[in-house]
């Protein structure tokens, strides 16, 4: 066992260390870069698991009356799929990127609280394993154990002991609660870092848009995640100590769970999406060879989305019977949030306009993102029209809408980010050829599945049903929806192969393979443990543009 820090050894000596030492380094690390990688890799693993769950569901629904999985299993599949995708895939990947990039982008050497950071990762991993342990460990009364089957938003009173005996629901409750604790810690970390540890010259107004999105979602997390934790504590008390928070038989309110949950749940999807916007805001300018159009409005739009998102939650409850006044109020707030969101799209278009667009893989994913997210946003505006939502809430139209947001929008942005920053993280480029196959197959498969899915919704098919009658005219729609799945699976497999092959044989990247402008490209690929030998002085929003174009720096234009 060597006493020397690996960064002080020669590369040959570092490579010769026993794998156990490597593993130990990764387990005890408090380095934001390593924790970022751990977050993203874990998130991608859970992504594959949740994708398998989705595949089983789509197989079951491909035709009416199939028996691929029994009803109880199907109900567990959609619960685990939704819960995993939000808490074990989306959040970790987004905060993982934040972890890796924020200190580099603002010229810091690490996050404010490195040990808290490590704690956050390991507690998330524990929570993910706990949730999946329920598949084998959660036996309960009358065989009603196993994984939770209450849906990812776990409405009361279905979650009460009376209607869900056994411990399956407790696995959901505790795992999500524990994951939430970790996320709150990371959010505190990011806010403290961005406010107090920016490098010389890095004013708030010069931070990359991605950092603004991370700070916004971290601040949002501080406000919205505790209400979920509170509701989960209440559910725990109901289930174990006989409390009556959501016990309708004792005068409790089932709707109160929905208010608390969605007060968290709606802003949560903006927490997922805003960093996706951040990725796109970094990548489009570099591949259009133009500065981002309207930095200030983009920042204002980001922050206002974060704020307004806190006021829109009950659009998930338009059919609960809140009354005309509340329905109208929440319809309005939901429509309003479309304004800053739409502005972002215009800003990106204006950035590309007049540029020299290079269609490398990150940009391909961003282009798909633009069209798909436009569609997602528009179906969202449609659903904000409350009477329209009275028809389509809880139908496959909503499922299509949010998959357009989360896959068509967020996942494509995440893949763009991976292709863009993989060279920085690993020192090697991902294959362009495999990347193009990945992107196009995913575009075709995703749209085949999810554009079609709007049809089932409009034809009256509700969500969360394990099969459907044969005489409602839904068969062909479901079949076509399912046909998109194998294409998406192949696309993801190609991505996995791309990563595996490129790690070993990818072209060497160098410090700045994309000719980009933010601080992370001013250090080696991968960066040393201390990030920068000397922290660069920031002179504008594009410090590297200033260095490369000393005759025409950004400063006077900003």
């Amino acid at each position: 066992m060597s006493v020397l820090s690996p960064t002080l050894m020669s590369p040959e000596a570092a490579a010769r260390r026993p794998w156990l030492e490597h593993a130990h380094d990764w387990v005890v690390t408090v380095d934001h870069k390593r924790l970022g990688i751990l977050y993203v890799v874990s998130g991608l693993v859970f992504f594959v698991v949740a994708g398998i769950e989705a595949t089983l569901m789509r197989l079951q629904l491909a035709w009416p009356g199939l028996h691929i999985v029994p009803p109880e299993t199907f109900n567990r599949l959609f619960t685990m799929h939704g819960t995993s995708m939000v808490f074990l895939v989306g959040i970790p990947i987004v905060f993982g990127f934040g972890n890796y990039l924020v200190p580099l982008m603002i010229g810091a050497r690490d996050l404010a609280f490195p040990r808290l950071n490590a704690f956050g990762f390991w507690i998330f991993l524990f929570a993910g394993l706990l949730l999946h342990w329920s598949f084998i460990g959660g036996e309960g009364l009358s065989g009603s154990g196993s994984a939770p089957a209450v849906g990812w938003f776990a409405y009361a009173p279905l979650t009460s002991r009376a209607f869900t005996p056994g411990n399956a629901t407790d696995y959901w409750n505790l795992a999500v609660f524990i994951a939430g604790v970790g996320t709150i810690g990371t959010a505190i970390n990011i806010v403290a870092t961005t406010l107090t540890m920016r490098g010389p010259g890095m004013t708030l107004g010069r931070m990359p848009i991605f950092v603004w999105t991370m700070v916004t979602v971290s601040a949002m997390t501080l406000f919205i995640l505790p209400p979920l934790s509170a509701a989960q504590i209440m559910l725990l008390l109901d289930r174990f100590l006989g409390a009556h928070f959501f016990d309708t038989q004792a005068g409790g309110s089932a709707v109160m769970w929905q208010h608390f949950f969605w007060f968290f749940g709606h802003p949560e999807v903006y927490v997922l999406m805003l960093p996706g916007f951040g990725f796109v805001s970094e990548i489009i300018p570099v591949f259009s060879r133009k500065v981002i159009f309207g930095y200030a409005t983009l920042v204002a739009a980001t922050v206002s989305i974060g704020g307004v998102a806190l006021s829109t939650w009950a659009h998930h409850m338009f059919v609960v019977g809140m009354g005309t006044g509340l329905n109208a109020v929440f319809a309005l707030s939901t429509m309003l949030i479309a304004v800053p969101t739409g502005i972002k799209i215009f800003n990106w278009l204006a950035t590309m306009y007049g540029g020299r667009v290079r269609f490398r893989t990150p940009m391909l994913f961003c282009c798909a993102f633009l069209f798909q997210f436009l569609c997602a946003g528009l179906t969202g505006v449609m659903l904000s029209v409350a009477p329209f939502d009275w028809q389509l809430s809880d139908s496959y139209f909503v499922v299509a809408h949010f998959h357009f947001v989360l896959i068509g929008g967020l996942l494509f942005a995440i893949f763009a980010a991976i292709y863009y920053w993989f060279p920085k993280v690993t020192g090697r480029m991902l294959s362009e050829r495999l990347g193009r196959w990945h992107c196009w197959l995913l575009v075709v498969g995703f749209n085949l599945t999810f554009i079609t899915m709007h049809g089932q919704g409009v034809l009256g098919m509700p969500r969360r049903i394990y099969t459907y009658p044969a005489d409602r005219g839904w068969e062909m729609w479901n079949l076509v929806t399912t046909l998109g799945v194998p294409l998406q699976i192949v696309a993801v497999l190609i991505f996995v192969v791309n990563v595996a092959v490129s790690l070993r044989r990818g072209e060497r990247a160098g410090d700045d393979p994309w000719d980009a402008w933010t601080l992370e490209w001013a250090t080696s690929s991968p960066p040393p443990e201390y990030n920068f030998e000397t922290i660069p002085v920031t002179t504008s929003r594009r410090p590297l543009w200033d260095m490369k174009h000393p005759d025409d720096p950004d400063g006077p234009h900003e």
Partner: protein, 319 residues
């Protein structure tokens, strides 16, 4: 009676659903225009400004922003949103704010895991899974006002061709209304996940011409048929725990946990749509409900074959 059809939201026959379709045309039209314009600009931009090989390493002119343009594309969407909201509010109040006329037909629907209890309080009728209503003439509407309650967890009452859905929530009473203008059968189902058999909590709304509806009411109001030929089956029924859950008016059976069976054979399906109401299916259901609808609350009666036959023969007389 026409058979079931596709419950499309674009095929409405009742005022709430008609209003929503009207509104949806506005919304879809607006969205389509926005999509075409924005996607068009995006496509044009990507094609027109793509990097061509001869461009070399020169960077294009850097444009940092434009206050006028950014103001314009903030104000215009904001105005569109305001207009959309005002239109929406009008429809919200128009549909939800409708007061119940004193001569409306009142129905109470109680959601159970996993079937619907349908009561007509002023007519003294209790049935299950099928909601029968009279057709409504748009010139002189005769709407049906539905009161929604739950016996256990949250369900949702959704018949797309008649109205938007409304949740059925324990410890809360919700209300909605329909006024179907065309006779026929309109299908729907529970639209809020409520447990294992949420998928088989189907709904049928049968809209009758007025005289046909009155005949249906009269038939439902009579107590259960007492056919002497099935006396053995009836006594078996009354001696078993069936009566703890089911009601058959005119007999001592008055359980309320399961569907009212007084006019069981007047319904098209059993098990909330999981099976057709045929003698074979009925027999199989009584024998082992879990085989047709796994997880259902009704226990398997585990009767001997002859008892099962006798019981089924009795049930088949409950027209």
């Amino acid at each position: 009676m026409p058979t079931a059809q596709t419950p499309s939201i674009f095929d409405p026959v009742s005022s709430p659903a008609l209003a929503i379709r009207e509104l949806s045309f506005v919304v879809l039209g607006l969205s389509a225009v926005i999509f075409v314009v924005v996607a068009g600009v995006a496509a044009y931009t990507l094609v027109r400004f793509r990097n061509r090989p001869g461009d070399g390493r020169r960077e294009p002119p850097q444009v940092y922003g434009s206050t006028q343009i950014e103001l314009a594309w903030t104000v215009v969407p904001f105005l569109i949103v305001m207009v959309l909201f005002l239109v929406t509010a009008r429809y919200i109040y128009g549909i939800e704010g409708r007061a119940m006329p004193s001569d409306a037909l009142e129905v109470t629907v109680v959601g159970n895991q996993w079937w619907w209890e349908i009561r007509y309080p002023r007519l003294g009728i209790v049935t299950a899974n099928e909601l029968h209503v009279p057709v409504s003439d748009p010139a002189r509407p005769t709407p049906t006002f539905v009161t929604l309650q739950s016996a256990d967890v949250i369900h949702s009452f959704w018949v797309p061709q008649l109205a938007g859905k409304m949740d059925v929530i324990p410890n809360k009473t919700n209300r909605m209304w329909i006024d179907p203008r065309v006779p026929g059968t309109y299908v729907g189902q529970c639209a809020e996940y409520c447990g294992t058999q949420h998928a088989w909590m189907l709904l049928e709304v049968i809209v009758h011409p007025r005289d046909e509806f009155d005949r249906w009411v009269a038939a439902q109001q009579t107590p259960a048929v007492t056919d002497p030929a099935v006396r053995a089956g009836r006594e078996l029924f009354l001696s078993l725990s069936c009566i703890n859950c089911h009601t058959v008016r005119g007999t001592p059976a008055n359980g309320v946990f399961g569907p009212d069976l007084t006019h069981l054979m007047s319904r098209r399906t059993i098990a909330a749509g999981a099976a057709r109401n045929t003698p074979e299916a009925l027999r199989a259901w009584v024998d082992a409900p879990g085989a047709i609808k796994p997880g259902v609350r009704m226990p398997a009666m585990k009767l001997a074959k002859s008892e099962l036959d006798s019981l089924t023969t009795y049930l088949l007389t409950l027209r």
